[in-house]
Symmetry: C2
Subunit: 309 residues, 2 copies
């Protein structure tokens, strides 16, 4: 049995764009043509492949084909570029879907992409995801690679350790004056307003537990934006754990202070990617490892795996 290439392309476009209409626009055909191809593909494999929801998501069976379609597209694009050379217009640049944790995206990841040699004409579909979701995206074939705090290798992937991201507990000088100097430290931290990235971000509570030797329940502001998080600390809306790379300029400028100098938290990061012989994926891996190993903290205490944001 062979899969029909048009049907597979229609399926990949629906999953990628999230709807039959958008897929039809991209393929320059009618939505009903897309729908017929999907139905034919489903009939040929004897399984429902797409949930008819909004956005259209692959079923569990569909995920296997998402991954196949992604791998075929990489290999095809590379074969074409080998055949036809890098003539302008010879091929559309390969779009590489990757998942990145928010704080890596806000610091070292984009400079790594900019390091790619010019002959690797790639574009990217970047998903900013927490680590749990990244693993799901690798598994279901939505992304080809991910920067994640999860060390456990996803099936069909290769994982490599990057450095660890170092977090500092910071606040504005005015915040310290107002919330942390009236009472004895570190006890004052048990009731001072705290910034937390989202429901899964346990860094602040971990720092507090280490300091207070007990659990604490301070008032929390949830703020799911890396740069917003630093800005909110600078503006005195709370204290929080910030990547050293983002905190350092504000600390040097006197806009942020370290709450407990000498008490950083280190979060080891990993690069997980599909096992696929692809020059593009190899080139991406090279620049990510160079920046990831170079910029992050190599001598970090790595006992605290499995937390990150």
């Amino acid at each position: 049995m062979r899969l029909d290439a048009d049907q597979l392309a229609a399926f990949a476009a629906v999953v990628d764009e999230g709807s039959f209409e958008a897929a039809a626009r991209r393929l320059h055909v009618t939505p009903s043509a897309v729908s017929q191809r999907i139905k034919a593909l489903e009939a040929s494999v004897g399984q429902v492949l797409v949930q008819r929801s909004r956005p259209s998501r692959p079923t569990e069976a569909g995920q296997i084909l998402v991954r196949l379609a992604g791998q075929v597209s990489v290999l095809e694009s590379e074969a074409l570029s080998e055949l036809m050379g890098e003539l302008p217009g010879a091929r559309a640049p390969l779009r590489m879907p990757v998942a990145v944790n928010a704080d890596s995206l806000a610091t070292w990841f984009l400079p790594a992409l900019a390091d790619l040699p010019a002959e690797q004409a790639m574009t990217f579909d970047i998903r900013q995801e927490d680590q749990d979701h990244s693993i799901a995206l690798l598994r279901d074939g939505t992304v080809m690679a991910a920067v994640t705090a999860e060390a456990k290798v996803v099936q069909g992937c290769r994982a490599e350790a990057l450095g660890a991201m170092r977090y500092l507990a910071v606040a504005s000088p005015e915040f310290r004056r107002r919330h942390l100097e009236s009472e004895k430290m570190p006890g004052a931290l048990a009731s001072a307003p705290m910034l937390v990235f989202n429901r899964k971000d346990g860094l602040q509570h971990r720092f507090l537990r280490g300091l207070l030797q007990r659990n604490a329940d301070p008032p929390v502001t949830y703020l799911p934006s890396s740069w917003g998080f630093v800005e909110a600390a600078r503006l005195g809306l709370g204290w929080g754990m910030v990547p050293e790379q983002m905190a350092r300029p504000a600390i040097d400028a006197g806009e942020l202070i370290e709450i407990r100098p000498g008490h950083p938290l280190d979060v080891p990061l990993y690069w997980q990617r599909w096992r696929l012989e692809s020059a593009a994926l190899a080139a991406l891996t090279d620049v990510v490892k160079a920046r990831g190993l170079g910029l992050l903290n190599q001598d970090a205490n790595k006992e605290h795996a499995g937390q990150g944001r």
Copy 2:
């Protein structure tokens, strides 16, 4: 019929925290106590209120109670603070759930929060959402207020116009040299790599259509982070539409150039909030309107409603 306050609190905690276990931790009871309260509440209203999924989401019937619980919590917190004054520990600060579009969060919204008078001891649960989702969050009671590009008033809410956010088409000087000077402008833009925030961000395509008088399909990098977007433009990964407030410092520093000076896009923004007599919500509205009207572009061409990110 009266609703039981403990049961309602258990329900609100489950929806807020996303699981029975986390709700139990917050309420200092066992997960099975939480489960019993939810079942009792469901029995008393004769409807299923919580989807037993991960995260736990309210059903359609449950959404009515989410909103009720939020309103009761605001009014209760304000009555307590009136009764007991602003003594430290008299009450936990009110946590205000708000939805904000990404580019507002990256620019004027956090400074607005920092403008709140000190006696309004509030924390925030900030959701960074595109406008469609913000409307759903207002409607189902998850947030009390939202900054959104949607002018249509959500039922039970009050909407007020803020200014418009002005976007400039920018790229790095090196990007222009490499992609835009070899061919005639504006035609060269039809094939130069383009940055797009996410699948719903139509700003770049709109700018292109205005310039080329036709649709174009350039290679796209999706990058759902406001600061990452500016950084990617600075690093030469593509051109894109960036809020003037974020682009200006990089333009002044010579790191970004405007692709077509004098061709901005303006996106009007609105502040939608629950109709609720609450001093906290009124104070928040004051600072948001002051910054929103003051920082954004008042004399903007407002014909382009309903797009934003």
